[in-house]
Amino acid sequence: MLSSHIMAAAPVAAQHASSYLPIALQIVFAIGFVALMIFVSALLGPKRKTNDKLANFTSGITTHGNARQPMAIKYFLIAILFVLFDVEVIFFYPYAVNFKSLSWTGFYEILLFVGLFLIGFVYIIKKRALKWED
């Protein structure tokens, strides 16, 4: 039924395609105007490049070191584990939708699923992957 609805809507949408023309024009003008302004101001504006001007302003204190400090590798490990455990929650959505109709069988199966997760979690703890200090 849904599909027939979609199919029926097709010619209407095709008709409407032409009525999007003003919006398209507006987008073209908006982007064009911004691009033109940036280009013109870069062209006309004064340019004085000196080392002092290009350097970062740090209130007179000389800079030292790099702002991009290497991050602890532990961080990545925990982030990776988080991604794994986080995404698996997705399987609870279909279960939640069919919670009533699946009744106890569904509950046991979801328990099995969570149980497998717990095994993985025990493994992680046992391998000391979550320890920050070594």
Partner: protein, 475 residues
């Protein structure tokens, strides 16, 4: 079902035992016991004792052929872990995890030998490949291994993306992921939709799936990743990847097209201008050409074996072209012949210091047993009569001839089989007729030698009586 569930459970057991068992010697024993139990469980299921029968809503279908393939795959894995156990222990510190990953790979292969739904195809392929990315990079401090791992990962997930897009398009064309519907109106399944006429979406999707699968089995023109990765990963895991895993990918490949041909006449009719068989023939010839010609120029034996595995994949693809009973039997024979020989060659190679051809010089003098086993393995790979490799190639060519109309592909196959003899015999030549000393990196134990000879004898015995393997398919 037995094999799928048990392999997953044993994977978890290995994982936990690596966390709780401190004795590193224990892992391989646990793994071997697990593999043997797996073998027994699978054989029980073949003779209709399925203990773990879970309703799969027709997503999986356990046929005799698929179950027998499982048996062969497990048997080859047992041979592999018995033959290369010392090498697995030498790869790194995480021995329990390596075995756990091998079990997970097996689980993926079992799904691939019995899927009946494109969802299961996708999941099986992923379960099979993701652990392999890790195994490839198992030598964490070795740059070559790291690089191979990254390349394999990028190429593998790229091909997965292509495969997935293909599945999405096929779904769009047919409205279903199931390959065959049991007890339902046939016209709702993919097969039914195919019967009418493949839509444009279908054809586009099938071509993308074909591309993705060609990536996985390293068929030309998507073979370029294979040599680098086989060369870079630790030799033990190369032998696992090049044999059992490749066979698993082949089973999935064949199954997809075999089911479709069984249900419809799709492959016989040229549908909207795409003649599938012609496409397969071109892929086969290109794979044979690239694999064999580049293998000739390799100086490193490991790299030569990598290219030869591409060439052997070309031969296995013959079964895709014919898709009849002979082709299925031939594929099983080929899996056994190729896996046993390659596992043996890599097992001995992993013990050596020098992987180049010159490294094999004079092996017959210093290590006559190993040289003998090596020679038998190479003879089998090149398809010399009285080895199982001959019958494997014979069945493949026979299957193509039976289909009719593709005689020229069979002739090209014979020509390339003759060419392949050249580079396999170079190794035999340098082992027996060149002077030199073979330096081994690791000592060879007596058990290792016995196992090597046993594997050589398996090849010869099966070469004399190939029916032994095939009889189990029917009785």
């Amino acid at each position: 079902m037995n094999a799928i569930i048990l392999s997953a459970i044993f994977g978890i057991v290995m994982m936990l035992s690596s966390a709780f068992v401190k004795n590193t010697k224990a892992y391989k024993s646990i793994a071997l016991v697990g593999l043997i139990l797996l073998l027994l469980a699978n054989i029980c299921e073949t003779y209709s004792h399925a203990w773990l029968n879970i309703p799969t809503f027709d997503m999986l279908e356990f046929s005799r052929f698929g179950l027998y393939f499982n048996t062969l795959a497990i048997a080859c894995t047992i041979l592999f872990s018995a033959f290369s156990q010392r090498e697995i222990e030498r790869v790194g510190r995480y021995i329990g995890e390596y075995f756990a990953l091998i079990f997970f790979v097996l689980c993926g292969i079992f799904i691939l030998s019995s899927y009946n739904n494109l969802l299961m195809l996708f999941i099986g392929i992923e379960i099979m490949s993701i652990p392999l990315y890790i195994l490839t990079g198992a030598r964490k401090e070795n740059l070559k291994s790291n690089e191979a791992s990254l390349k394999y990962f990028l190429m593998g997930s790229f091909s997965t993306g292509i495969l997935l897009m293909g599945i999405a398009l096929v779904y769009g064309g047919t409205g279903d992921f199931a390959l065959v519907h049991h007890g339902q109106d046939i016209s709702t399944s993919i097969a039914g939709a195919m019967n009418k006429r493949m839509s444009f979406l279908d054809v586009a999707g099938m071509i993308l799936i074909l591309t993705g699968m060609c990536f996985k089995v390293s068929a030309a023109p998507f073979h370029f990743w294979a040599p680098d990765i086989y060369d870079g990963s630790p030799s033990v895991f190369t032998s696992f990847m090049a044999t059992i895993v490749k066979a698993g990918a082949f089973i999935a490949f064949i199954r997809l097209f075999a089911i479709r041909e069984e249900e419809t006449t799709i492959l016989e009719n040229a549908i909207i201008g795409v003649d599938w068989k012609m496409l397969f023939s071109i892929i086969i010839v290109a794979t044979l050409l690239f694999g064999n010609i580049t293998a000739i120029f390799q100086q490193s034996v490991k790299r030569m074996l990598a290219y030869s595995s591409i060439a052997q994949a070309g031969f296995m693809l013959f079964s895709l072209l014919s898709l009849n009973d002979t082709a299925k039997e031939g594929l099983l024979l080929y899996v056994v012949a190729y896996s046993v020989a390659t596992i043996g060659l890599f097992g001995i190679l992993a013990k050596m210091k020098d992987y180049t051809l010159a490294g094999y010089n004079g092996m017959a003098k210093s290590h006559p047993t190993l040289a003998f086993a090596n020679a038998i393995f190479l003879l089998s790979l090149s398809g010399i009569p009285l080895t199982i490799g001959f019958f494997a190639k014979y069945y493949m060519l026979m299957a193509v001839i039976q289909t009719g109309g593709y005689m020229w592909v069979a002739i090209v196959g014979v020509i390339f089989a003759v060419i392949s003899v050249f580079y396999y015999f170079r190794v035999i030549w340098s082992m027996y007729f060149k002077e030199g000393t073979v330096e081994l990196k690791y000592p060879v134990t007596k058990g290792f030698k016995i196992l090597a000879v046993v594997m050589a004898l398996i090849i010869i015995l099966l070469g004399a009586f190939p029916q032994v393997i095939l009889n189990f398919l029917y009785f």
